[in-house]
Symmetry: C2
Subunit: 206 residues, 2 copies
DNA sequence: TCCTTTAATGACCGTCAAGTCATAATAAGC
DNA sequence: GCTTATTATGACTTGACGGTCATTAAAGGA
C-alpha cells in the first residue's frame, strides 16, 4: 500500500551532495538549502534521513575515512624502505585542496564535536600504527634504523606528511609545488638532511 | 577639557582578552560579548577600537606572528646541522594546543578571509625562506646535502614540523608524547629513516 | 562648580540559517 | 480508480549573534 523508498540509496545521494558542498565551500559556509539543492530535493527531506547538519557531517567523515582505510589496509606490506616510501608517495593526495579544507572547518570551532575529532584522529592513529608495524618489520630486515621506537616513528611520520598536505592545501594549491615538496619530503625521510653517507655516490668535499 | 584615554593601551587590553577567548574556545564559538566580558567592558566599547570581529582577529594574528617573527629573526644563524636542529627544537611549542586551534578556526570556513590566510601563510613562507637560506649556507659548509633545492627544502621542513604541531595540538595534547615525537622528528630530519651509515657507530647485521 | 568634549554603556535591531510541520504528492494494494 | 500508509515539500518559527546608537558617565579646564 504505502510508498516505499530505498533508504540507503537516499542517504548515499545526500552524502554525495553534502561532500560536494562541504569540500568546495567548507562546512560552516554550506547551508542545508545548498545541500538540498545539490541533492535535488527539499530541505525538509534531508531531515528524514539525517538528524541534522552535524550528523550529516559525521556520517560523511566516517564514510570518507572508512573508504581510505580499507583501500590502504589491503595494500601489500613493503619489504624495503624504498617500497615503503613509494607507497607513501602514491597514497598522498595529488590535487592539493580536496578534503583538507573540510577537516579544518570541522576541527576548527573549538573542537566542539568530540566525535569528529575522534573519527579524524582515530584515522591518523590507525595509520600511524600501520606505519609503526611496517617500521618494526623493516627494522628487523635492516631496512630501517633500529634506534627509533617504531610506534612513535609511525605517528611522527604520519603527522609530518599530513603537515605537508595541509600547508599545500591551505597556502599554495599549486600541483607543481606540491609534487616538488612531496619528493623533497620523501627524500628527507629516506636519508635525512645531513650530507650523503660514503656508501652512497655523492661528493663530500666542496 | 575632554576625557582622554590611551588608545593603544585599550587596544592591547582588548587584544589580550580576545586572544584568551579565541585560544581557549575558538574564533567562531567566541561571541563579542565574551571578549567584552574578558576585557571588562561593554560590547559597544569594543567597536570604538576595532571595526568588527574580523578586524579584531586580524590584528591579533598580526601581533601574534609579528612577535614570533622578531624573536626568530634575531636568532644567530646556525653553523652546523646540529645547531640548526637545536634551534628547531627550541622554537617548537612545548605545550600542545595553544594557538593552533585558533588558526584552524580562522582558516576553516572556506578560507573566507584571504587576509587571514595571507598573514598565516606569509609567516610560514617567511620561515621557509629563512630555513632555505640557512640550508644554502650549511650546504656550502658541507653540513647539509647539496642535492636538494634549499628553498623547497626549507618550505618542506616547515610544513612537516607544523604538521607535527597540528597533530599534537588536535589529537593528543599530551606534553610527553609531544616531546617524544618532536625528538623523533628531529632525529629523522637529521639522518632519515634508513639505517645508520657506516661512519656512525651502529651495527648493521642483525 | 559647571560646562564641554570625548568615552562607555547595553538595550535594541536586522539578518540569517537550522530545524519544524501542516499540507501535498506518490505508490502499492484492492 | 479509490484508499491508505509513506514520503516529499517549503513557508514559517525560533534562536542567536554581530553590529548600532541614543543615553549616561567621566574628565579636564575655566
Amino acid at each position: 500500500m504505502p510508498k516505499i523508498v530505498d533508504r540507503e540509496e537516499m542517504q548515499t545521494r545526500i552524502l554525495d551532495a553534502a561532500a560536494s558542498c562541504f569540500m568546495t565551500q567548507g562546512f560552516h559556509v554550506t547551508k542545508m538549502d545548498d545541500v538540498a539543492r545539490a541533492a535535488q530535493m527539499a530541505k525538509g527531506t534531508l531531515y528524514l534521513y539525517f538528524k541534522g547538519k552535524d550528523e550529516l557531517m559525521l556520517a560523511l567523515l566516517r564514510r570518507y575515512f572508512g573508504e581510505i582505510q580499507t583501500r590502504i589496509a589491503q595494500l601489500p606490506a613493503p619489504q624495503t624502505l624504498e617500497q615503503f616510501l613509494h607507497g607513501v608517495r602514491l597514497s598522498m593526495p595529488t590535487d592539493g585542496q580536496g578534503a583538507t579544507s573540510m577537516f579544518f572547518d570541522v576541527l576548527g570551532p573549538g573542537f566542539q564535536d568530540p566525535r569528529a575529532v575522534e573519527v579524524i584522529g582515530g584515522f591518523f592513529d590507525w595509520l600511524g600504527d600501520i606505519y609503526g608495524d611496517q617500521f618494526r618489520a623493516l627494522a628487523d630486515r635492516g631496512e630501517v634504523r633500529r634506534d627509533l621506537d617504531p610506534g612513535q616513528a609511525g605517528r611522527t611520520v604520519v603527522a609530518m606528511l599530513d603537515g605537508l598536505t595541509i600547508h599545500l592545501a591551505l597556502f599554495n594549491p599549486d600541483p607543481q609545488a606540491f609534487a616538488a615538496r612531496r619528493d623533497a619530503a620523501i627524500s628527507i625521510l629516506a636519508t635525512g638532511l645531513g650530507p650523503a653517507s660514503p656508501t652512497q655516490p655523492m661528493k663530500e668535499t666542496p
